[in-house]
C-alpha cells in the first residue's frame, strides 16, 4: 500500500516536511509577527520630542477649550438652563434636571461637562511637566507655552468650580467644597479642594501668565485675554477693585472697539470687539456647532430645543428701539398658546465663538465702578452698551443702586445665551441679594450645585457628592 521499499526514507522525508513547516513559521518570526502597534499613533515616549510637538499638543488644549462639550456650547447651555432666561415648558430628561435644579449622578450632560475641562487640564499638565525634555525648545516658546497652558488650566478650573460648588463668598472663608484641583498629570483620585483653594490656584495661574504673553499671539491667548479673564474672575468674587483695574486696563490699553452692530460678535466675520476667540475655520472645525444645534432658529416649523422665556422676551422688547430685542429673537407658533421664543444669535452654519469681548469688559467696569462709587465711569460704560443697541442714555445722575440695576439689566440683555446669567445671579445672591430666587428656588439651595457625575465617583469612590434638592 505504502512505499514499503523505503519506509526509512519516507520517515526522513516526513520529518523534513515537518521541519520545513516549522521553519516556515519560525521565519515569520513570532516576535515580529506579534508586534502590531496602533497605526497613526505615536508611543508616548516619542510623542513630545520637538518644539513642534509642543505646539501641536498646546493646539489640542485649545481644541478641547472650544469643544461642543465645553465652552463651544454645553457648559454655556447648561448654566443658562439653571438661570432664569429659558422656557421650561416641554423640557424633559437631562435638561429638565438642570432647569429644575435637580441633577443626579446619572446625567450624560454632566459627565461630558465634567470630563471635558479635565481632559484639557490633563494635557496642559503634561505640557507643563514635559517641556524640559524637549531639546530644541526656545526659552521664548517655553515661557509662552507655559503661560498659555496655565491660562487654559485656570479657565478649566474656574468654569468647573462655578458649576459644581456654591459660589465664591458663600462661606466667609470659602471653605465650602469645590472640585478636585488637578495641577499634576496623574491618575491618583483626589478629594475636592475648597472653593477658596480653587480660586487661589486659578488666580495664581492667571497671574503667572498675564505678563508673559504677548499682546498679540496669532489667534492664541494674549496678555489681554488673561487680564480680561482676571477681570471676570475677580468680578465673580465680588472683588470690585481688581475687577475694575483689570477691565480698565483691557478697555484702555487693548485697542478693542465695539462693533457697529449688536450681531457683530456672532456673524463669523472678524471684528475688533472680541478679545479672545474660540476659532472656527470651517464646518468641520466649528467652535459653534453645539450652540447652533441648541439654538439655531432658521426653520420655524422645526424649532430647536433651546428656547427662551416669555418673561425675557418681554423684557428685551420693552424698549422698541432696542436692536437686541428686534434682532436677537424670533417667534415660532406666534400668537398661539404654544408660542416659542427663539434666539437668532447662533444661526450661522459655522462661526467663531468669542470667549472674552469688550462688551463684557465694559459691563464689568460699569458695575464695579458703581460698586466703588465711580458713577461717571459706570454711566459712560453702560451708555456705550445701550447706545450701540440703539437705546438712549440712562437718566443722568442716578445713584449707585439704581445704576447697578440698569447695568445688570444690560448685562442680561447684551450677553443673552452666552452662559453668564446663572453665575451673575449667584454672585448677586452672595453680594447683595440674600433672598434672591432663581426660577423659584433660593439662589443658594443645594440643587444650584450640579451633582457630580457617576463616572468620577466610579474611579474615585471616596469623593464627596453634593447634597441634592432645593
Amino acid at each position: 500500500m505504502y512505499n514499503s521499499n523505503s519506509p526509512k526514507k519516507m520517515k526522513k522525508l516526513s520529518i523534513y516536511f515537518l521541519l520545513s513547516l516549522m521553519i516556515l513559521f519560525g521565519a515569520t518570526s513570532c516576535k515580529k509577527f506579534l508586534e502590531i502597534p496602533p497605526q497613526g499613533e505615536v508611543p508616548t515616549e516619542d510623542a513630545l520630542t520637538t518644539s513642534r510637538d509642543v505646539q501641536l499638543l498646546l493646539n489640542s488644549c485649545y481644541d478641547v477649550l472650544r469643544s461642543a462639550k465645553f465652552l463651544g456650547g454645553k457648559i454655556r447651555n447648561l448654566s443658562d438652563l439653571m438661570g432664569d432666561d429659558r422656557d421650561g415648558r416641554s423640557l424633559s430628561g437631562n435638561w429638565l434636571s438642570y432647569y429644575a435644579h435637580n441633577t443626579g449622578i446619572f446625567n450624560q450632560e454632566t459627565r461630558d461637562m465634567w470630563s471635558e475641562p479635565y481632559i484639557m487640564i490633563y494635557r496642559c499638565n503634561v505640557l507643563l511637566e514635559n517641556m524640559d525634555l524637549v531639546k530644541d525648545l526656545s526659552a521664548e516658546q517655553k515661557a509662552r507655552t507655559t503661560a498659555e497652558a496655565k491660562f487654559l488650566r485656570a479657565i478649566g478650573h474656574f468654569e468647573l468650580v462655578r458649576m459644581f460648588g456654591q459660589p465664591y463668598g458663600y462661606t466667609a472663608d470659602n471653605s465650602h467644597l469645590g472640585i478636585p484641583l488637578r495641577i499634576e498629570a496623574s491618575q491618583v483620585p483626589l478629594p475636592r479642594a475648597t472653593v477658596g483653594e480653587v480660586y487661589a490656584q486659578v488666580l495664581a495661574d492667571l497671574e503667572d501668565a498675564k505678563n508673559v504673553l504677548p499682546g498679540s499671539n496669532g489667534g492664541y491667548a494674549t496678555s489681554w485675554a488673561v487680564k480680561a479673564y482676571l477681570a471676570r474672575v475677580h468680578f465673580q468674587m465680588n472683588d470690585f477693585q481688581a475687577a475694575f483695574d483689570y477691565s480698565n486696563e483691557v478697555i484702555n490699553g487693548g485697542g478693542f472697539t465695539l462693533d457697529t452692530t449688536v450681531m457683530g460678535r456672532f456673524t463669523g466675520t472678524p471684528n475688533n470687539e472680541n478679545i479672545f476667540n474660540l476659532i472656527s475655520t470651517g464646518q468641520l472645525n466649528n467652535s459653534g456647532a453645539d450652540l447652533g444645534s441648541t439654538y439655531r432658529s432658521t426653520n420655524l416649523s422645526n424649532p430647536p430645543a433651546g428656547r427662551m422665556s416669555n418673561e425675557l422676551y418681554l423684557t428685551a422688547t420693552a424698549d422698541s428701539n432696542d436692536q437686541r430685542g428686534k434682532l436677537f429673537y424670533v417667534l415660532a407658533n406666534a400668537g398661539q398658546s404654544s408660542e416659542l421664543v427663539l434666539l437668532t444669535r447662533y444661526n450661522e452654519n459655522w462661526f467663531t465663538v468669542p470667549l472674552l469681548h469688550l462688551a463684557e469688559m465694559l459691563l464689568i467696569r460699569a458695575e464695579s465702578a458703581a460698586e466703588l462709587g465711580n458713577l461717571a465711569v459706570a454711566e459712560a460704560d453702560v451708555n456705550a452698551i445701550r447706545n450701540r443697541a440703539g437705546v438712549a442714555d440712562v437718566t443722568p445722575g442716578l445713584d449707585a443702586a439704581s445704576l447697578k440695576v440698569l447695568i445688570r439689566l444690560e448685562r442680561r440683555l447684551e450677553m443673552v445665551g452666552e452662559g453668564y446669567r446663572f453665575h451673575d445671579l449667584r454672585r448677586q445672591g452672595v453680594h447683595d441679594s440674600p433672598t434672591l430666587l432663581i426660577n423659584g428656588s433660593p439662589w443658594d439651595c443645594n440643587g444650584m450645585n450640579v451633582q457630580l457625575p457617576d463616572e468620577e465617583r466610579s474611579g474615585n469612590p471616596s469623593i464627596v457628592l453634593n447634597p441634592e434638592g432645593c
Binding site: F33, P38, V42, N285
Partner: protein, 1020 residues
C-alpha cells in the same frame, strides 16, 4: 495462483447456470418465493417491531411478537435483506431465491456502540472515547426551525448552552452563553470556528447603530451545515487555549459523498407576525391623562403647549394615529436551496447555492441573502489528500432604525397618538417612525467569503500530517441615504465601511503508536498555528448625492465629500499545541493537551499564555463484573472527569500601548494640526484564565432505549478583564485591569428516550436541562457603578454577573398618590436616591433547557420543541417611561390602575404627574425601580414541524428519490408572568460589557416573530 483462477472459473460457471435457470423458471411459471426468518437481539431474545425490507423493492414488513417475519410474493432473483431497529446496527444479507423457494434468513442484530464521530479541535474522536463535554447538533435538528442564522436555531438543543434570540429583526443574532458567563468587559461570546478557521464574529462592527447590532453569523447558510459541536469544558476547549474560556462552537459544513450525483432541492415560504404587541392609548385617552397629570401638579386650565409644539385643540383635531399598525405588518419569507453531492474514490464534491428573502413583520425590514459553496475532497495520491472549502455570500439587509431609533420602538415611545405622518421628526421632540423609515434608506450590504484549504499527507502508516490555510474576508457596508426632507438640505449619502481579513494557517502532525501491545492505544498530535486579523474601517459622507447611492458613489458636481478612515485595527496570534490520547483495553482513557498562545494584544510581561488540560474516562460497562450483572439494564456506562485551563483575550487590540495621536488625525485648531494623549501604557495586561473542573457520566439504558449524559462543573475565572474607571478628573475615563474573579458552578443533564419504538409508530423525547450558579467572587475595589450594563445592571461582588441594581418600590401612598420607596435600610421614603439602590435580582436564569419530542407514523413526522427558562429577572427599561412621568411618550392602554383620589389604597401605579420630582426623581429617565422588574421565567412552544414523506418506489423509476413536505410554526405559545411583549429578549448593546451583563433587559426591543411556513424537500 492456479487455485485462485480455478475457483473464479467455477464461480462464473455456477452463476451463469443460476442465471439461466432463474430466467427459465421465471418464464415457465410465475411461482414466487418467500423469505422468512426470526430477528434476535444480542442476547438471542426475539425482537419485536424490527423493520425488514428487500432493498430495491416495495416488499417488506415488521417482525411479530415472536420476532418472526415473512415476505411473500418474491420474484426469483437476488436480493438484499435489510433489517433495521433503533440503536442497532443495520443488518444486511444478500440472498438468492428461486421460484417457489422458502428461504430462511435468521438475523442476529448487534447493538450500536456509541461511536458517533465528534469533531474536536484539530481532529475527531469517537464519542465513547471522549473525556470532555461536547454537545453535537446535527443538520436535521438545526433545520427544524426556520431561521436566517444558525446561532438562533441552537436554542434548546444542547444542555448548558443558553441561547437568547435577541429580537424579531430580520437576520438578528442570538446571545449564546456556554455554562454561564465568566467575562465582564472582555467579549463573553464563544469562539466560532468554521471548518477549522476562527471566523470574524464581532457583533459590534456597526456598534448599536439604529438600535440593533449586526449579526456576523447570518451570512452563513444553515443548510450548508453538517454538524455543530459545542465544546463546553476545558478538556475539550483548552486546545483553543486563550480563546476557549467561553466555549467553542465548531461548525462543520457538508462534504461530498461517494456515489452518483444526488441533488437536494428545498424550498420554504412563510409569514412573520409579531409574537405579541401591547396596546397603546388613543389621542383622547392620552390628552385625558396629560390633563390629569397637569391638574395633579397644581395647574389649572389647559397646558399651553404639548409635546411636539401642539396645543390641546390642535392635538385633538388631529385624531388618532395607530403607529404600531403603521410600523408592523405581515412579513413574507422565502428560501430556496439547491445542493449536489457526488463522489468517486478520487474526487468528492459538495456544492450548494441558496437564495433567501426574509421579511420581518417590521415594515421596511428584510434580509436577503445569496450563498454559494463548493467543498472538494481530492485524493491526489493514496496518501495525499487535498480538501477545499470555498464559500461566498452576499447579504443585503434592508434595515430601519429600531428601538430608540424608529419603527415599532418609536411607535411605543415618542410617536404620540395625535401626531400624524406630517409631523416632523427630530429636535422638536416628536417621533414619526414613518418619516424615519421613508426618508432614510438604510441598507447593510455584506459580502463575505470563507475559504479553507487542507492538505493531508500520510508519509507512512500511523503518521498523518496536515497543513491548513484559511481565509475569511468580510466587506460590510452600512449605507444611509438621507432624503432632503430628512436633512432639510441636500440629499446625503453615508457609508460606514468595514473590510476585515482574517487569515489562519496551521500545521499538525498526528502519530498513532501501533508498536504497542494490542490492548494499548496511544496517539499524539502536535501543531503550530498563526492567525492574523486586519480590519480597515472608515466613514464616507457625500452630500448632494445622486440617488444611485448603492450603485456608485458619484455625487453631483458641487457635492461635498468627507471621508474619514479610522485607524487600522489588527491583532495576531501565534500558537503551538499538542495532545496525547491513551487508551487501555478500550475502557481506560486518558487525554492531555497543552496550548501555548502568544498574542499581539499583550505586552512583554505577559505575552505568552499556557493552557493545559487533562481528562480521564472509564468505560465501566466494559468491565467483566458489569457485563455479568448489569448489561441488561445498563448497557453502557462511562465515568469521566477533567481539569483544564482556558483563556479569554477578546479585548480591543491596542490596550497595552501608551500613545499619543499622530498629527494626521484630521482635527485642526486655528488652521494647525493637533496631537493629544490617547491611552496610558498598560504593560501588565494579560489573559483572563478560567480553570474548569468537570465530572460526569454517560449512560445507555435498556439497550440504549434511554441514553444520557450528566455533568457537574466548576469554572473559576481569574484575572478577569475589567474596564475599570479612572477618576474622570484625571483626564481619562478607563483603564483595563485583570482583577476580577468569577465562579460558575453548575449541573447539566441531557437525556434521550425512545418511548415508543414500533414499526408503525415512533416517539422519541430529548430533554436537556442545566442549572448554573454564577458568582462574582471579587472585583477588587471597583464600585458597582463602574461596571454598568444597560437597564441599570451592575457587577457586584457576592452576586451573579449582571444584577439588577435598583431602588425598591414599596407601594403607592394612599394619601398623596406618590410612590413609596424603601431606602437602604428598608425604611419608607418618597425620595428616589441613588444611594438607596440595592441588588434586587439578576439577569441569569436559575435553570434553562429544551424539550423536543419527535413522532413518526406512516410517513408523517412531527417534531415539537419547547424551550424554557426558570428564574432570573427581566428589566423593562422602557416601561419606566411608558408608565412613568407623563411627558413626550405614549402610554400603554393598561395604565388604568393608577392613583386618582386621596385615600385610594392599593393602586398599582402612582399619581400621574408631569414633574419627575413628584416621584422623588431628578429625571424621568432615572425612574429605575423594582416597579419595572419582572420574573423572567417562561416556557415557549418554540417550534412545531409537521412533515409528510411520500413513499417513492424505485420501480416507478421516478426521478425523485425522496420527497418531504412540511409545515412549520415558531414561537407559537408562550407561558410567562412577564406582562411585556416578549420574555425572550436582548436589547441592542454597544459593547461586550453590556452584552455580558444585561441579556434580560429590553428597551423597546422588537419582540420575536411568530412564523408559519410551508416547505418541500426533494432529493433526485
Amino acid at each position: 495462483m492456479q487455485m485462485r483462477t480455478f475457483t473464479l472459473k467455477i464461480t462464473r460457471i455456477l452463476s451463469l447456470m443460476l442465471l439461466v435457470f432463474a430466467a427459465g423458471a421465471g418464464s415457465l411459471a410465475a411461482q414466487n418465493a418467500t423469505i422468512s426468518g426470526i430477528v434476535f437481539d444480542e442476547n438471542d431474545a426475539p425482537m419485536v417491531g424490527a423493520t425488514v425490507v428487500l432493498e430495491g423493492t416495495t416488499l417488506g414488513g415488521f417482525t411479530d411478537e415472536a420476532g418472526k417475519y415473512s415476505i411473500s410474493g418474491v420474484k426469483p432473483g437476488q436480493y438484499t435483506v435489510s433489517v433495521s431497529f433503533v440503536s442497532y446496527d443495520k443488518f444486511q444479507q444478500v440472498v438468492a431465491v428461486t421460484a417457489g423457494e422458502k428461504a430462511m434468513v435468521d438475523v442476529k442484530m448487534k447493538l450500536k456502540v456509541l461511536d458517533d464521530v465528534i469533531i474536536v479541535g484539530y481532529g475527531t474522536e469517537r464519542k465513547r472515547d471522549m473525556t470532555g463535554s461536547v454537545s453535537k447538533i446535527t443538520s436535521r435538528e438545526l433545520n427544524d426551525v426556520p431561521g436566517a442564522s444558525f446561532d438562533a436555531t441552537l436554542q434548546g438543543k444542547a444542555a448548558g448552552v443558553q441561547v437568547i434570540q435577541g429580537s424579531g429583526i430580520a437576520g438578528a443574532g442570538a446571545k449564546i452563553t456556554v455554562r454561564g458567563s465568566g467575562s465582564v468587559s472582555a467579549g463573553g461570546d464563544p469562539l466560532y470556528v468554521i471548518d477549522g478557521i476562527p471566523i470574524t464574529q464581532d457583533p459590534f462592527l456597526s456598534g448599536d447603530r439604529g438600535g440593533q447590532n449586526n449579526n456576523p453569523l447570518s451570512s452563513i447558510n444553515p443548510a450548508d451545515i453538517e454538524s455543530i459541536e459545542i465544546l463546553k469544558d476545558a478538556a475539550a476547549a483548552a486546545i483553543y487555549g486563550s480563546r476557549g474560556a467561553n466555549g467553542v462552537i465548531l461548525v462543520t459544513t457538508k462534504r461530498g459523498k461517494t456515489g452518483k450525483p444526488v441533488f437536494n432541492l428545498s424550498a420554504r415560504t412563510g409569514i412573520s407576525r409579531p409574537a405579541k404587541l401591547l396596546k397603546f392609548v388613543n389621542t383622547d385617552q392620552w390628552l385625558q391623562m396629560y390633563q390629569e397629570a397637569w391638574e395633579n401638579d397644581g395647574n389649572v386650565g389647559q397646558p399651553s403647549i404639548l409635546p411636539g409644539g401642539y396645543t390641546v385643540d390642535s392635538a385633538r383635531a388631529n385624531g388618532t394615529t395607530d403607529w404600531q399598525d403603521l410600523t408592523t405588518g405581515t412579513g413574507v419569507k422565502q428560501e430556496y436551496n439547491l445542493s449536489m453531492s457526488q463522489g468517486t474514490e478520487k474526487l468528492k464534491t459538495y456544492a450548494d447555492v441558496s437564495m433567501m428573502n426574509n421579511q420581518s413583520y417590521l415594515i421596511g425590514n428584510s434580509y436577503r441573502r445569496y450563498t454559494g459553496r463548493v467543498n472538494l475532497d481530492w485524493n491526489i495520491l493514496k496518501n495525499l489528500k487535498l480538501g477545499v472549502s470555498a464559500s461566498g455570500a452576499y447579504g443585503r439587509n434592508n434595515k430601519i432604525g429600531q428601538a430608540w431609533d424608529g419603527s415599532l420602538g418609536m411607535a411605543q415611545s415618542n410617536a404620540l397618538p395625535y401626531f400624524n405622518e406630517q409631523t416632523s421628526n427630530s429636535a422638536f421632540g416628536g417621533g414619526n417612525p414613518i418619516n424615519r423609515r421613508t426618508q432614510i434608506d438604510w441598507r447593510t450590504i455584506e459580502k463575505r467569503t470563507i475559504n479553507t484549504m487542507n492538505l493531508q499527507y500520510n508519509p507512512f502508516k500511523n503518521l498523518t500530517l496536515n497543513a491548513n490555510g484559511s481565509l475569511d474576508f468580510m466587506d460590510l457596508g452600512d449605507f444611509y441615504l438621507e432624503d432632503s426632507l430628512w436633512t432639510n438640505n441636500k440629499i446625503i449619502g453615508k457609508d460606514w465601511y468595514n473590510k476585515i481579513l482574517n487569515w489562519n494557517s496551521n500545521a499538525t502532525a498526528k502519530y498513532d503508536f501501533n508498536m504497542l501491545p494490542k490492548n494499548h492505544k496511544l496517539s499524539a498530535m502536535g501543531g503550530v498555528e498563526a492567525q492574523k486579523m486586519v480590519r480597515k474601517s472608515g466613514y464616507m459622507e457625500v452630500s448632494d448625492v445622486n440617488k444611485q447611492l448603492y450603485l456608485d458613489w458619484q455625487g453631483t458636481e458641487d457635492s461635498d465629500t468627507i471621508e474619514t478612515s479610522y485607524p487600522l485595527d489588527s491583532w495576531s496570534f501565534v500558537s503551538t499545541f499538542g495532545r496525547i490520547n491513551y487508551q487501555l483495553n478500550d475502557k481506560y482513557i486518558i487525554k492531555a493537551s497543552l496550548r501555548v498562545d502568544g498574542s499581539s494584544k499583550f505586552g512583554k510581561n505577559n505575552r505568552y499564555g499556557y493552557f493545559p488540560a487533562v481528562g480521564a474516562a472509564w468505560v465501566m460497562s466494559e468491565e467483566g463484573f458489569w457485563k455479568n450483572h448489569l448489561t441488561k439494564a445498563v448497557n453502557f456506562f462511562k465515568l469521566k472527569a477533567s481539569f483544564g485551563v482556558t483563556g479569554n483575550a477578546d479585548i480591543p487590540s491596542f490596550l497595552r500601548f501608551g500613545t499619543f495621536s499622530g498629527s494626521n488625525n484630521n482635527i485642526q485648531y486655528n488652521n494647525d494640526s493637533i496631537i493629544f494623549p490617547i491611552r496610558l501604557e498598560n504593560p501588565n495586561l494579560k489573559w483572563e484564565t478560567t480553570q474548569t473542573m468537570d465530572a460526569g457520566f454517560e449512560f445507555g439504558l435498556l439497550k440504549d432505549r434511554i441514553t444520557g449524559e450528566f455533568a457537574v462543573y466548576n469554572k473559576e475565572s481569574r484575572n478577569v478583564l475589567l474596564r475599570t474607571s479612572s477618576p474622570t478628573s484625571s483626564g481619562f475615563k478607563e483603564y483595563w485591569q485583570n482583577i476580577g474573579h468569577i465562579r460558575n458552578r453548575g449541573i447539566e443533564l441531557g437525556i434521550t428516550t425512545f418511548n415508543i419504538n414500533t414499526a408503525a409508530f415512533k416517539w422519541k423525547t430529548t430533554l436537556n436541562i442545566a442549572r448554573n450558579r454564577n458568582l462574582v467572587v471579587d472585583v477588587g475595589t471597583t464600585p458597582p457603578d463602574a461596571l454598568q450594563g444597560s437597564g441599570d445592571t451592575r457587577v457586584v461582588a457576592g452576586y451573579p454577573v449582571g444584577v439588577n441594581y435598583l431602588v425598591r418600590f414599596s407601594h403607592v401612598d394612599p394619601a398623596t398618590g406618590k410612590p413609596v420607596y424603601l431606602d437602604k435600610n428598608g425604611n419608607e421614603t418618597f425620595e428616589w436616591r441613588t444611594e438607596n439602590r440595592v441588588v434586587v435580582g439578576n439577569v441569569q436564569p436559575a435553570a434553562q433547557g429544551g424539550l423536543r419530542n419527535t413522532f413518526e407514523w406512516k410517513g408523517f413526522d412531527l417534531s415539537v420543541l419547547w424551550t424554557f427558562t426558570l428564574g432570573g429577572k427581566i428589566y423593562d427599561d422602557a416601561a419606566k417611561r411608558q408608565y412613568g412621568v407623563v411627558s413626550n411618550w405614549t402610554m400603554p392602554n393598561g395604565l388604568i390602575d393608577h392613583w386618582t383620589t386621596p385615600g385610594q389604597v392599593g393602586a398599582q401605579y402612582p399619581r400621574l404627574t408631569l414633574d419627575p420630582a413628584t416621584y422623588g426623581l431628578d429625571n424621568e429617565w432615572n425612574n429605575n425601580s423594582t416597579l419595572w422588574l419582572y420574573d423572567a421565567s417562561y416556557a415557549r412552544l418554540k417550534n412545531v414541524n409537521l412533515g409528510y414523506n411520500f413513499k417513492i418506489t424505485q420501480e416507478k423509476k421516478w426521478w425523485i428519490q425522496k420527497l418531504r413536505v412540511y409545515a412549520s410554526g415558531t414561537n407559537l405559545w408562550t407561558i410567562t408572568k412577564y406582562p411585556g411583549s416578549d420574555p425572550e429578549i436582548v436589547r441592542d448593546q454597544n459593547g461586550p460589557q453590556g452584552r455580558n451583563i444585561s441579556p434580560n433587559v429590553t428597551y423597546l426591543t422588537p419582540p420575536q416573530e411568530r412564523t408559519f411556513s410551508l416547505g418541500v424537500d426533494v432529493q433526485f
